[in-house]
């Protein structure tokens, strides 16, 4: 149980790459943290997400802590991305999507009728799987969010600050007027992160941010995430269990139940401190997944 196997893992980020197995203790950092989340940012109680009649996520109850990195892991179709997108109401953009149950942000239900999704998204930023830079210059990409939000700031300073925080400034400081499409995939993803923190959110949601990146770019994004966690609350969806083990404080394992009609419904199986999930999972399904015996 001290070894996990993930065939999709990047093949050269660390010593575990050669065998496809890793010693979890080498990757898990930091002290033990308690099971109970103390400084709660998101409080979910019986959250269900539907697409029309289809229940994509079933009955999730969990808390997400401030300045922590929380990882959502699980097989494809287990609803982890769907749940993540409901945190900043991006699911509103899909016709027929709706959320039931209570999804509270600092105690306020973000699905209350008087809540403006625009305001929610300004406080809860999002980084997507594919780096979706705007077809504009690097500078304009970062300045876009503050502009549309009417922030009264010195834009040059803000752009430099955000690009520095995203560990991209040194690479692009002479090319700010160049198209963002000229950057590599890893640089584009860091630009997206810089663009996201430019509107000064409290939370950053990351939906498989390294899925389209090579191992070196992935390592850079992971370092950046740990750095950002000092100021931001981060929730990351990942298919890469080593990544979850490397970066997160807490891990939630989701899986898909197949009902009588063969339809897959996502559900939360187990949630707890990452070290505990990877070394002493309570649920046998978690155990099977992290040790590569899933399915």
């Amino acid at each position: 149980m001290s070894e996990i196997h993930d065939p999709d893992a990047p093949q050269s980020t660390s010593d575990m790459a050669m065998t496809g197995r890793m010693d979890v203790s080498a990757v898990l950092e930091g002290a033990e943290i308690p099971e109970v989340v103390s400084n709660i940012v998101f409080d979910l109680a019986n959250v269900r997400v539907f697409y029309g009649d289809f229940e994509a996520v079933r009955d999730v109850t969990m808390q997400i802590g401030r300045n922590e990195i929380t990882a959502f892991i699980g097989p494809s179709g287990c609803g982890k991305s769907t749940l993540l997108r409901s945190f900043n109401r991006m699911n509103d953009l899909i016709p027929g999507a709706r959320v039931e149950g209570l999804l509270a942000y600092h105690g306020f239900n973000i699905y209350a009728p008087d809540v403006d999704p625009i305001e929610v998204r300004r406080r809860i930023g999002m980084v997507f799987q594919k780096p979706n830079v705007f077809p504009k210059s690097i500078y304009e990409n970062v300045a876009y969010g503050p502009k549309v939000n009417g922030m009264k700031v010195n834009m040059d300073d803000l752009v430099e600050e955000c690009l520095t925080k995203a560990a991209l400034w040194d690479e692009v400081k002479d090319d700010l007027k160049k198209s963002a499409y000229a950057l590599s995939g890893g640089q584009q993803q860091r630009l997206v992160i810089a663009r996201c923190i430019a509107v000064k959110p409290e939370v950053i949601l990351m939906d498989e941010p390294c899925a389209s990146l090579d191992p070196i770019a992935t390592a850079k994004i992971e370092d950046l995430m740990k750095e950002l966690a000092k100021d931001y609350t981060i929730v990351i969806v990942t298919h890469n269990m080593q990544q979850a083990a490397r970066v997160s404080e807490r891990t939630a394992f989701f899986t898909a139940d197949v009902d009588a009609q063969g339809v897959r419904h996502g559900r939360l199986v187990e949630y707890g401190p990452t070290r505990r999930i990877f070394t002493a999972p309570h649920d046998p399904r978690t155990e099977d997944y992290i040790s590569g015996r899933f399915g």
Binding site: L93, I118, F134, S179, V199
Partner: protein, 299 residues
């Protein structure tokens, strides 16, 4: 010829030559080429014919002089050129904002699953196939008579605007649809409103496609004669339009009028004017390509 590298003595011979290109492949390739050639050859013959025939009259008098029925050797098409520019200007003025914004509504705001949206969608596609003469009847009944705008530049502009509106809406929608969804989501995730996202991200990214579709639609409007014949542009006009409520003639109408005349000088004049119309159309298409290339280079 076979390779002369060392090979294991007992290895079976490898045939890499195959049976050559099958006959079907070759035939299909030629059929495709012939289809293309038919279009190009006919266009080339047509262009050569009108250019040769109109050559004697492709002189500055063609765009400097007004039409004349008595002296075809000195007649020009100036009133038709300025009339075309006036009419097409008003067509663009009416059709572009309405077409762009209508397309933005359909593509960005409307719920694609609603019955109303699907109803509108099917109707717009059908409208694009309605014969232009029908638009002429409509323009005559509504703009010329009911709204009492008469046989003026503005009536022609409004009628042609209705004619090209479906084409503009359809091509603008295509251009908007080609903008990746994740650009919109990226903008919305930053707390931008739908309006900000549409105006600052989606529409700028769609400009190349919108420009191309628009210019092609306006090019079609420039070449239209049928609806304008109904709207009473047949009359002999030997002055430039002075405003939206002025009488007018356009190049296709002028060409139509001259080809009706029996004298050979008028036939030559008509050919020369056709060449002029084609040059204007080519120039407009060139502008479309220019806009497309320039906006694409930006990103």
């Amino acid at each position: 010829m076979t390779a002369t590298l060392d090979i294991a003595p007992d290895s079976a011979p490898v045939d890499l030559q195959g049976k050559g290109q099958p006959l079907v492949d070759k035939t299909f390739r030629w059929i495709l080429f012939l289809c293309l050639a038919v279009g190009i050859i006919f266009l080339a013959v047509l262009l050569t014919y009108v250019t040769i025939k109109g050559w004697p009259r492709l002189t500055p008098t063609l765009w400097e002089n007004m039409p004349s029925l008595r002296r075809p050797e000195r007649a020009g098409a100036q009133s038709a050129i300025t009339g075309t520019l006036w009419v097409i200007g008003f067509t663009a003025l009416f059709a572009l904002p309405v077409g762009f914004l209508g397309a933005v509504y359909m593509e960005e705001y409307a719920n694609p699953a609603s019955r109303f949206t699907r109803f509108v969608e099917i109707n717009i596609q059908n409208l694009a196939a309605v014969p232009s003469i029908v638009y002429g009847i409509l323009g005559l009944a509504i703009f010329a008579r009911a709204l009492a705008l008469g046989q003026t530049v503005i009536t022609a502009g409004l009628t042609l605007a209705l004619l090209v509106l479906p084409v503009i809406i359809v091509s603008t929608r295509e251009a908007l649809r080609a903008v990746p969804q994740n650009i919109r989501h990226g903008s919305l995730a930053l707390g931008a409103t739908l309006w900000q996202t549409t105006w600052r991200q989606t529409m700028p990214a769609a400009v190349p496609g919108m420009a191309t579709g628009t210019i092609l639609a306006l090019s079609r409007a420039i070449g239209e004669a049928a609806p304008l014949l109904l709207l009473g542009a047949v009359t002999f006009i030997s002055f430039n339009p002075t405003g939206p409520f002025s009488a007018y003639t356009t190049l296709p109408i002028q060409i139509f009028n001259w080809t009706k005349e029996s004298r050979e000088e008028f036939q030559i004049l008509a050919s020369a004017t056709i060449v002029l119309l084609l040059v204007i159309l080519l120039a407009m298409n060139a502008v479309a390509i220019l806009i497309r290339n320039r906006t694409q280079k930006r990103w």
